[in-house]
């Protein structure tokens, strides 16, 4: 039983939980959202700041957040920010997509470490249906906030 637990509570997850990255709400930001997990009450307030890089590509400049929740939801917010900050928005969305696929795969999806880095530690979470929502809370909030700025199709024009 401890084995199963260990598959869920990977060392990386517990590290991010105890020492979350990029936590706190910061300026500037273009959008702020508040998401709740209705079943358990976990909450996150999340801000996104994006800007055009000199190469004309829209990039994630900052993701800041304030949250209450379990180890899984806290660690996943921390991992999210590590993964998307500094990336072009398109690429960040692709990372989101692949995290979502991993989480919804019921443990049958092989994570791509190239893309997901620390987030592969969440592979074990996918086997615990009740916890998938925890892992996805901040990711869904980030997507929601980002789309509210760039619109469903990410074109530079719409993003301003």
């Amino acid at each position: 039983m401890s084995q199963e637990l260990d598959a869920l509570y990977q060392e990386i997850i517990l590290d991010h939980y105890k020492h979350p990255h990029h936590k706190g709400l910061r300026d500037p930001f273009e959008a702020e959202v508040h998401h709740v997990n209705p079943t358990c009450g976990d909450e996150v307030t999340l801000r996104v700041h994006m800007a055009d890089a000199p190469d004309g590509v829209l990039r994630v400049e900052d993701v800041s957040y304030d949250s209450v929740g379990c180890s899984i939801s806290q660690a996943s917010a921390s991992v999210l920010t590590d993964l998307v900050i500094g990336k072009p928005v398109d690429e960040a969305m692709a990372i989101h997509e692949s995290f979502l696929t991993l989480m919804q795969g019921k443990g049958n999806v092989e994570p791509d470490e190239e893309v997901l880095e620390d987030a592969i530690a969440f592979a074990g979470v996918a086997k615990f249906p009740a916890r998938v929502k925890c892992a996805l809370l901040s990711w869904m909030a980030w997507k929601d906030a980002t789309l509210s700025v760039v619109g469903p199709v990410e074109t530079l024009e719409e993003s301003k």
Binding site: V36, P38, T39, C40, G41, F128, P129, A130, R131
Partner: protein, 422 residues
């Protein structure tokens, strides 16, 4: 002779063994001839066993419970939703809402419309259109709604042979119409209504279409999209599932615009003393602990029906109905209420016999083990339309045999002789 009927389900005697109650005997050792399936259907062993397994091994509350039993129970419960969604061709499982029965599903719509704002709001000058052949559960909610909101209730009339009178459709469905609500298959007359055609007209004027599929879902292949309905209701206990559960399917765009119905439990997003916000569909409309073991049983029920095939069940019903209409025609003084062409109707056949009141008919039949319904079948306006106060109704289902129809016809002959009519 009866073996020559085409369309009957193969190996009917084997299929009947799936239904434990069918081998029961009644008072005086009479075998049961159950011809009251439009009232409620009997349950196959697999539905009962699936419910028992859930209660004995997986019982827990859903959604809120994170432990292993909770996960198993949630999976079984939501699996029931998936199966129902597949059964009716719902574009999304989230559009399937579990209610307590078809009546609650219909009332949910009428009730939330009472509090709707914007486009869907209903008030003075607005009209709701129903039909004279509706079940009370698709009449009273609209009477209450229109009365309370100062709107007007209008009715499609019926032709003498028991069909909807569509001659004044353009007069009935107008720019003032906000809702058209009608039954797909009549539980009294057996009539199958041209739902898609009426929906088309309703959509032209921007009305929403509510379909009562309580009698259709058991008998016909249902495709909610093809039906043209915006909202569609049916009930678990008529599709070989348990009581305590009904289904409301609705197009997401419509459901999203309706305000919540009952409050509490998992229908919330967050609750504070100041205000509450609500979950998305389907949970928004599922306050409190849902019918868990019932959803599990209903899942097994629709799987059972799908396994046999709704097309095959429909063909069986038509064969039995044709055979019954033929048999009933041989009984002197018997008049069928509703269409006489089996290919155009469902399996409920209501009739009158000159000189014997329906209660008395049902009583004599019951003494021979034959279960039929006598009364107004919750369709008083339709009875009034045909100038009768009540009728006797036989209703068949996938387990009905031609021999049971023979028993009914014999029983009716006997009834006539018992009351000294022949």
């Amino acid at each position: 002779m009866t073996h020559e009927l085409t369309g009957l389900l193969p190996e009917l005697e084997v299929l009947r063994k799936d239904f434990p109650i069918l081998s029961r005997t009644l008072a005086g050792g009479q075998p049961l001839v159950y011809l009251d399936s439009a009232n409620t259907s009997q349950k196959p062993q697999i539905v009962i066993d699936t419910m028992v397994d859930h209660l004995e091994r997986h019982n827990a509350n859903v959604a809120r419970a994170m432990h292993q039993l909770g996960a198993e129970s949630s999976e079984a419960f939501e699996g029931g939703r998936d199966k129902v969604a597949a059964f009716i061709g719902a574009p999304s499982r989230d559009e399937v809402i579990f209610t307590k029965n078809a009546s609650e599903a219909l009332n949910l719509v009428a009730n939330t419309l009472a509090w709707a704002t914007g486009d869907l709001a209903i008030g003075a000058g607005d009209e709701v259109v129903i039909t004279e052949m509706e079940h009370h559960s698709n009449i009273v909610p609209w009477q209450l709604l229109t009365e309370r909101k100062g709107a007007t209730l209008r009715w499609f009339g019926l032709t003498d042979d028991g069909r909807l009178d569509l001659s004044n459709i353009d007069d009935l469905i107008t720019e003032r119409t906000k809702v058209v609500s009608l039954t797909w298959v009549s539980n009294m007359l057996g009539t199958i209504n041209p739902v898609a055609e009426i929906a088309r007209r309703a959509h032209e004027v921007g009305a929403i279409v509510v379909v009562d599929a309580s009698q259709a879902a058991p008998q016909l292949p249902v495709d909610v999209v093809a039906s043209g309905a915006d909202l569609l209701a049916f009930t678990g206990h008529k599709v070989v599932g348990p009581t305590g559960i009904g289904v409301l399917w609705g197009r997401r765009e419509v459901l999203d615009r309706l305000p919540p119905f009952l409050g509490g439990g998992e229908m919330i997003e967050t609750v504070s003393m100041q205000r509450s916000t609500y979950a998305g569909i389907p949970h928004k409309f599922e306050a409190g602990t849902p019918p868990i073991v019932e959803a599990v049983g209903l899942g097994a029920a629709v799987d059972y029906l799908s396994h046999i095939g709704m097309e095959n069940i429909h063909a069986h019903e038509q064969a039995i109905t044709a055979y019954a209409l033929e048999g009933l025609a041989t009984v002197p003084g018997l008049t069928v209420l509703g269409p006489l062409d089996a290919t155009q109707r469902g399996g409920a056949i209501s009739f009158e016999i000159d000189g014997v009141h329906p209660h008395d008919v049902a009583q004599v039949l019951d003494s021979r083990g034959i279960a039929v319904r006598a009364g107004h079948h919750c369709a008083k306006p339709a009875h009034q339309r045909f100038g009768v106060q009540s009728s006797t109704r036989m209703s068949s289902y996938l387990y009905t045999t031609p021999a049971e129809i023979d028993a009914l016809v014999d029983g009716l002959e006997y009834t006539r002789s018992y009351f000294k009519l022949s």
